[in-house]
C-alpha cells in the first residue's frame, strides 16, 4: 500500500468528484450523498469519457459522454453495457483523504 494524502473530504462536493493528476494519468475521486469516497481511473471503458465530470447518484456515476453508468464500488459498467474501470482504494481518516497509488506505481515501473 502506498497511501498519498490528496486533500480533505470537504474539498469534494457532495454527489460530485475531483481529480488527482498522476504521472500515470488522471484519477477521479468521488464523494456520494452519504459521504462515502471512491476512486477510479478517470476514463470510461466505452470511449474514454472523463467520469469525474458525470452525475453522481447512489454509488454510481453516469458518464457525461454517452450515459454509461459505472458502479463506484466495483468499477464495472451497469445495465446492459459491459466494461471495467480500474478502481483504487481511498481512506478517510477523520476527513483527510488518502489514496492508495501502489497499483499505479507498479504499472509505472
Amino acid at each position: 500500500m502506498t497511501w498519498v494524502t490528496i486533500g480533505r473530504l470537504e474539498d469534494i462536493p457532495v454527489r460530485g468528484a475531483r481529480c488527482v493528476d498522476t504521472p500515470e494519468g488522471r484519477i477521479a475521486v468521488f464523494r456520494t450523498a452519504d459521504n462515502q469516497v471512491f476512486a477510479m481511473e478517470d476514463s470510461c471503458p466505452h470511449k474514454r469519457g472523463p467520469l469525474s465530470q458525470g452525475i453522481v447518484h447512489g454509488t454510481s456515476v453516469t458518464c457525461p459522454l454517452h450515459n454509461w453508468v459505472i458502479s463506484l464500488e466495483s468499477g464495472s459498467a451497469q445495465g446492459a453495457d459491459v466494461g471495467q474501470v480500474r478502481t483504487m482504494a481511498v481512506r478517510n481518516d477523520n476527513g483527510t483523504l488518502l489514496l492508495d497509488l501502489a497499483e499505479l506505481r507498479i504499472a509505472a515501473e
Binding site: 490528496i6 475531483r18 488522471r26 457525461p64
Partner: protein, 815 residues
C-alpha cells in the same frame, strides 16, 4: 318530427342527461340550453382542485364548444331565464332571448346560503359555488392575508385547504362540536381535524358568527363569545338551497325543491326538473352520484322509455390531497345498532361499520379507504354480513380464508358492483365496454364509460379492471415514468411539485416516494429544472444535478476538452470583439475556431483548467456566455432586415437582438433557438426554429414548433401582431407557457403536438389575461436568471471545478 327540448341550466346533471339522451335517441330533439353562467359545462366537484392549484379550469371542462356544435345543441351563454310561460310554452331570458318548447327541463341547481349576519354584504364575502367564486377567491388570495371559512362541512374544508395551498392563513368557523358532523362520527372528525391542523388550518368549533366586520370590505369577523378574528375574506359554506323560484312563479308544485315523481316529472307533464333544484320523495340531493342516476332516468323518459328513479344511497369522499376519507349511510348510535371499530392510531387508520339486523347501515373510513366501495356495495344491497362478521372490518381481501391480493379482490367483485360512485358505473359496464370497444388506455375508458372521469378516486380500481380484462395488453405505463426511480410521469411530478409546494430535490423525492436514495442522471436534472422554473426566487439551483455542460458552462467534447461560444447578440459582431477572440485563440492556442449554425463563433479544444482564464479575457471585451450548452435560450438568428436589405420589411436584426437580450439566461425544458427574418424570403430560416418571426409589411408573423434536427418540420403559425412590443410579449408568453408545461428534454414542437396548437393559440393569442400572466412570470424569473455564469466563475464561484484536487508525482508518495 323533431320536438323542441329546452333546458334551463347547464350544470353537470343536464349535461349527463343529454349525453344519455343523444345515445338513446339521437336526433329526437332540437335542443336549446339557457345557461346563466357565461361558459360551457364543467365538473363542479373538481372546483376544489382548481382552487388549490392542482388542476386548471381547462382540465375540468366536461363539454367543450365543439361538443355542443357536434350535437346540434344551441347553447345560450350568459342567458338567465326570468320567465316560464306555460300557456304559450315559452321561456324568456333577462336579455330578451327566448325559445319555445315541447318539453322543458328545469335544472336551475341551487343557491348557496348566505347567513344574513351584519356585514354579509361587504365586498370579500363569498360563496363557494361556481368558477366565478373560485376566481374571486384566487384574486384575494394573491394578496395574502387570512381567509375565514364559515362552515366546517365538506365544501368548507375543501375551500379551506385550497386557500391554504394558495398561501393564505385560514381559519374555519364551525357551529357544531365536530367538523363534517353529517358524514363523520366524532373519532374520525377528530383525526381529520388533526390532519388539517397539521396542514396549518385553524379550526374553531362550537363557534357562531355574530357579525362580519369592515367598512366597505371584509376586515374580520366577530364571534358570539366576543372573539375577533381579523381576515381579508369570508367564505360562506354553510349549505345550499334548491333554486326553485322560477318554477314557483310558473305555478309548479314546489316544496323545498321542485317536486318531481319517479319519472322526474313536475306537476306539469311536459316539464321536468333535474339536479339540485328537484325534490324527489322528499329528498333534495346535493351530490353528483344521485343526480347522475336521476339524469339517466330522465333521459330514458325523454327517449320514450319508462325508467323510474328510485332514490339513492349516497357516499362522500373529501378531496384534500393526502387525506383519505370515506363515509356513507347513517352511523348514529341506537339501541338496535351494533358497531365494529378498527383503530390504528400510529398508522392513522380508523374504520367503523354500523350494523343493524346483520346489515351494514353506515360506514366511516379514515386513512385506509380501499374497501369503501365494497362496504358501500354491501350496504346498498342490504347484504347479510353475519357469516363474515368476524373479519368484515379487515375488508374484502380477508374474506374466505387467505388474504387476497388486490387484483383478486377486484376480480371477485360481482358485475353489478359499483366502481365509480360519481358516475354510477358498475364493474360489468366497464369490462364489457373495454372488450366491446377494444379500449386499451385509461383515457379511452374514461371517455366511453365515464368511470373515474369525475373525482378520480376510483382510478386505481378502474386500472385493475383494465388489467384483469386486457391481461398483458394493458400497459398501465400509458404514462411513462420519468425514470426507474419513480412510477410517476413528468406531468404528475410537475403538478405535485406545485400542489404540494415542494421546493428541494430531497423534498420531492421524499414526498413523491422516490425508490432510490438520490435519484439518477435522468431524474435529477429534470427535477432541478422543474424547481428552477417553478420557484425562481426560492429554489437554490443544485449544480450537482446538472449535466456537466451546464455545471461548467461550456460544451464537453469527445476528448474531455471543452468548447466555448460567447454570445453575439443577433449574430452581429465588431472588430474589437473579433480582435478579442483572436487574442484568446493565440494566447490559449485554441486548436479550432469555427462559425456555428447559430451565427456565432465556437472556440474548440480548450482545457477545462483554462476555462476561467479564457472567460476572463472574453469578459473584458464585453462577451458573456452564449449558453450554447444550455437547456435554455441559445441563439437568436437574424437577417439584416430593413436596415440594409432591399426586400426587408422590418428591422429584423434589432428585434432579434431585443429578443435575445430579453430572454438570455432563461432555462427551458430543452434547448430553445429563435430566428427573425426580415421578409418572407426568410434568410434567417425562421420557419424551422423553435420560435421564429417572419416580418411582413403589416407587422410580425410569429411561428413556432419547427425542428431541423433528428426530425425536420416546418413551423406552425401562432398568429400575427402589429408591433415589435407585441411580438416580444407574445414570444415571451409562449416561452413561459412551454417552460411551465414542457417535460424535461421535450422540444417545443413535441410539447406543442402534445397540448395542441389550438390550445396554445387560444391562450397566447386570444386570452390577453393569460398571456400577461405568462409574460409577468417570465420577467420575474429573469430577475434571478440573468446572471452571466462566466463572470461569476471568473470571480471565483465553483473554483474547485476547474482545478485538480492535487497533482502528485510518485516521489511524494512516501509513507
Amino acid at each position: 318530427m323533431t320536438e323542441k327540448l329546452v333546458i334551463i341550466g347547464n350544470g353537470m346533471a343536464p349535461g349527463r342527461m343529454l349525453e344519455e339522451l343523444f345515445e338513446k335517441a339521437p336526433g329526437a330533439y332540437d335542443v336549446t340550453i339557457f345557461n346563466a353562467e357565461p361558459r360551457v359545462n364543467y365538473d363542479r366537484i373538481m372546483l376544489s382542485p382548481v382552487l388549490s392549484g392542482e388542476k386548471s379550469f381547462d382540465d375540468i371542462v366536461i363539454h367543450d364548444d365543439a361538443w355542443y356544435a357536434r350535437n346540434g345543441v344551441t347553447l345560450l351563454k350568459g342567458a338567465r331565464v326570468t320567465e316560464i310561460d306555460r300557456e304559450s310554452r315559452k321561456v324568456t331570458a333577462a336579455d330578451g332571448r327566448s325559445a319555445t318548447y315541447d318539453k322543458l327541463v328545469i335544472a336551475t341547481g341551487s343557491t348557496p346560503i348566505i347567513i344574513p349576519v351584519p356585514g354579509h354584504q361587504l365586498s370579500g364575502v363569498l360563496a363557494y359555488r361556481d368558477l366565478d367564486d373560485v376566481d374571486r377567491m384566487l384574486e384575494i388570495a394573491r394578496k395574502g392575508g387570512r381567509a375565514i371559512v364559515i362552515g366546517g362541512g365538506l365544501l368548507g374544508l375543501e375551500a379551506a385547504y385550497g386557500l391554504k395551498r394558495q398561501g393564505m392563513e385560514v381559519t374555519v368557523i364551525h357551529l357544531m362540536p365536530t367538523i363534517m358532523e353529517r358524514q363523520l362520527d366524532p373519532p374520525a372528525a377528530y383525526m381529520l381535524k388533526k390532519a388539517l391542523d397539521d396542514r396549518g388550518i385553524d379550526i374553531i368549533t362550537k363557534a357562531n358568527t355574530k357579525a362580519i366586520l369592515g367598512t366597505d370590505k371584509v376586515e374580520g369577523i366577530e364571534l358570539d363569545d366576543g372573539r375577533i378574528i381579523p381576515g381579508e375574506m369570508v367564505v360562506m359554506a354553510v349549505g345550499i338551497r334548491p333554486n326553485s323560484t322560477l318554477a314557483r312563479a310558473a305555478g309548479l308544485e314546489v316544496n323545498r325543491g321542485i317536486v318531481v315523481d319517479d319519472g322526474m316529472t313536475t306537476s306539469d307533464p311536459d316539464i321536468f326538473a333535474l339536479g339540485e333544484c328537484a325534490e324527489h320523495r322528499g329528498v333534495c340531493y346535493g351530490l353528483v352520484a344521485p343526480l347522475y342516476e336521476s339524469a339517466r332516468a330522465l333521459a330514458d323518459r325523454l327517449a320514450g322509455g319508462s325508467a323510474e328513479y328510485q332514490g339513492s344511497v349516497t357516499n362522500t369522499k373529501l378531496k384534500v390531497t393526502g387525506i383519505n376519507l370515506f363515509s356513507a349511510g347513517d352511523f348514529a348510535e341506537a339501541p338496535d345498532r351494533e358497531e365494529i371499530v378498527l383503530r390504528d392510531a400510529s398508522a392513522g387508520v380508523y374504520k367503523r361499520l354500523v350494523l343493524k339486523d346483520n346489515r351494514i347501515v353506515g360506514t366511516v373510513l379514515y386513512g385506509d379507504t380501499a374497501d369503501g366501495s365494497w362496504f358501500f356495495d354491501l350496504m346498498k344491497k342490504g347484504s347479510d354480513v353475519s357469516t363474515m362478521r368476524d373479519t368484515l372490518i379487515f375488508g374484502q381481501s380477508f374474506q374466505g380464508g387467505a388474504p387476497l391480493d388486490p387484483m383478486a379482490a377486484v376480480a371477485a367483485l360481482p358485475d353489478d358492483a359499483e366502481i365509480c360512485g360519481c358516475n354510477g358505473v358498475c364493474k360489468g359496464k366497464i369490462t364489457s365496454t373495454i372488450t366491446g370497444k377494444g379500449l386499451t388506455t385509461l383515457n379511452e375508458v374514461r371517455a366511453h364509460t365515464k368511470a373515474s372521469a369525475s373525482c378520480g378516486n376510483c382510478t386505481g380500481l378502474v386500472e385493475q379492471l383494465m388489467k384483469l380484462t386486457l391481461g398483458d395488453r394493458y400497459n398501465p405505463a400509458a404514462v411513462t415514468p420519468m425514470c426507474d426511480c419513480t412510477d410517476l410521469g413528468h406531468d404528475d411530478v410537475r403538478r405535485l411539485i406545485i400542489a404540494k409546494g415542494l421546493k428541494t430535490i430531497p423534498a420531492v423525492m421524499q414526498e413523491l416516494e422516490w425508490k432510490t436514495s438520490c435519484g439518477c442522471a435522468k431524474c435529477r436534472p429534470a427535477l432541478n429544472y422543474y424547481l428552477v422554473c417553478d420557484w425562481p426566487d426560492e429554489y437554490a439551483d443544485d449544480y450537482q444535478s446538472r449535466f456537466i455542460n451546464e455545471r461548467v458552462h461550456a460544451n464537453i467534447q469527445k476528448d474531455g476538452t471543452y468548447s466555448v461560444v460567447p454570445r453575439m447578440w443577433g449574430g452581429v459582431t465588431s472588430a474589437s470583439e473579433l480582435r478579442a477572440i483572436a487574442d484568446v485563440v493565440d494566447k490559449f492556442q485554441v486548436p479550432m475556431v469555427k462559425v456555428t449554425g447559430g451565427q456565432r463563433i465556437d472556440l474548440l479544444g480548450i482545457q477545462k483548467e483554462d476555462l476561467p482564464a479564457v472567460w476572463a479575457d472574453l469578459g473584458k471585451a464585453g462577451f458573456v456566455s452564449g449558453q450554447a450548452y444550455a437547456k435554455g435560450l441559445r441563439t437568436v438568428k437574424t437577417c439584416v432586415g430593413s436596415e440594409w436589405c432591399r426586400f426587408g420589411t422590418q428591422d429584423s436584426t434589432a428585434l432579434g437582438i431585443r429578443l435575445e437580450k430579453f430572454m438570455w439566461g432563461s432555462w427551458t425544458p430543452a434547448k430553445l433557438k429563435l430566428a427573425v427574418s426580415g421578409c418572407p424570403r426568410n434568410c434567417a430560416e425562421a420557419t424551422c426554429k423553435d420560435i421564429g418571426v417572419i416580418c411582413v409589411d403589416s407587422g410580425f408573423e410569429i411561428h413556432f414548433a419547427g425542428a431541423a434536427g433528428l426530425e425536420i418540420k416546418g413551423t406552425e403559425v401562432l398568429g400575427q401582431v402589429k408591433t415589435e412590443d407585441e411580438a416580444l410579449e407574445h414570444i415571451v408568453a409562449l416561452t413561459q407557457m412551454y417552460r411551465e408545461q414542457g417535460r424535461y428534454l421535450e422540444r417545443i414542437y413535441k410539447w406543442a403536438k402534445r397540448v395542441g396548437l389550438d390550445e396554445i393559440r387560444r391562450q397566447i393569442m386570444d386570452d390577453a389575461e393569460k398571456r400577461k400572466g405568462y409574460f409577468d412570470r417570465f420577467v420575474f424569473s429573469q430577475t434571478f436568471a440573468q446572471v452571466d455564469p462566466w463572470s461569476e466563475r471568473v470571480s471565483g464561484k465553483d473554483k474547485h471545478e476547474f482545478k485538480p484536487l492535487v497533482v502528485t508525482g510518485f516521489s511524494e508518495a512516501a509513507e
